[in-house]
Symmetry: C2
Subunit: 134 residues, 2 copies
DNA sequence: CATTATGTGGGATTTATTCCTATATAGGAT
DNA sequence: ATCCTATATAGGAATAAATCCCACATAATG
């Protein structure tokens, strides 16, 4: 297990990582919790949440874009894309015509009825770059 | 107000739409609630939540990608993109090299330190297409 | 083993969203 | 202007998601 990036290897962590890989779907934290509970009936949700975000930080697993904990609305209904600051969670719109025409591979389109394609750029905004403190 | 798509125009709805446009940021439902509360001290959160999703459905406003209510993890840390079924909320990975090289406009990069760019395709998966019911 | 920095359980708390239902009201009909 | 009723709202309760807290447990090092 390539997880020696300065953190301990516990049975819970092994089980959580296995669960993320096992489900095949893209599980949410509670699905992982339920899966792991079978082997570790006493595991706490906090452990699952902590471990999942730790693993995401260390790039052991990924996640689907999710900005903060709440859904974010946007008055702009024109075609546009998003810059998302990972530090302050502000979202900025940007336009790029070349991004509006993206066509997923034909094999993908064959099994998926496409409605809309959006590009999300994750990074750090200028303001947060100035704020040196970390 | 172009909102005569078969729904009523209430003062609350006007205020909510104004709030989404006013804030400039991409507000979450609670930010809209707090903003509207200034004029409508008795408005209920339920009204705000209902109205926002109604407006999103009718394409009066948009939202930043948010799949369901919970963050979704992904064991795949390789470069890839996502197909998101709007009906069952399953998420499928796909790869497309041409999507891995997307460069936002220079003006954008100038004010944003880019980490990662991901393409999200929203639509309906085959299984849900078969399921005729709606 | 013995030590200790790190991790865990589980219950409480906070935050986000939705449900429920009695009451109010927009908007077409009168 | 007033009535009617389908639709919308308030506000409180319920559910869901994520996080906090801290006494206790345990990986990893020597």
């Amino acid at each position: 297990m390539l997880r020696e990036q300065g953190t301990r290897v516990t049975p819970q962590r092994v089980a959580i990582l296995r669960a993320v890989k096992a489900t095949g779907i893209h599980p949410d934290a509670d699905a992982v919790y339920r899966h792991v509970s079978r082997e570790h009936p006493h595991i706490s949700r906090d452990t699952v949440y902590r471990t999942l975000s730790m693993m995401e930080e260390k790039n052991i697993i990924g996640s689907v874009l999710f900005v903060g904990n709440a859904k974010r609305y946007d008055p702009n209904t024109a075609r546009h894309h998003h810059l998302i600051c990972l530090r302050c969670r502000k979202i900025f719109d940007f336009s790029a015509e070349k991004f509006d025409l993206l066509e997923p591979p034909a094999s993908t389109l064959a099994r998926f009825q496409m409605f809309r394609t959006t590009v999300h750029v994750e990074g750090i905004c200028v303001e947060c770059q100035k704020r040196k403190t970390m």
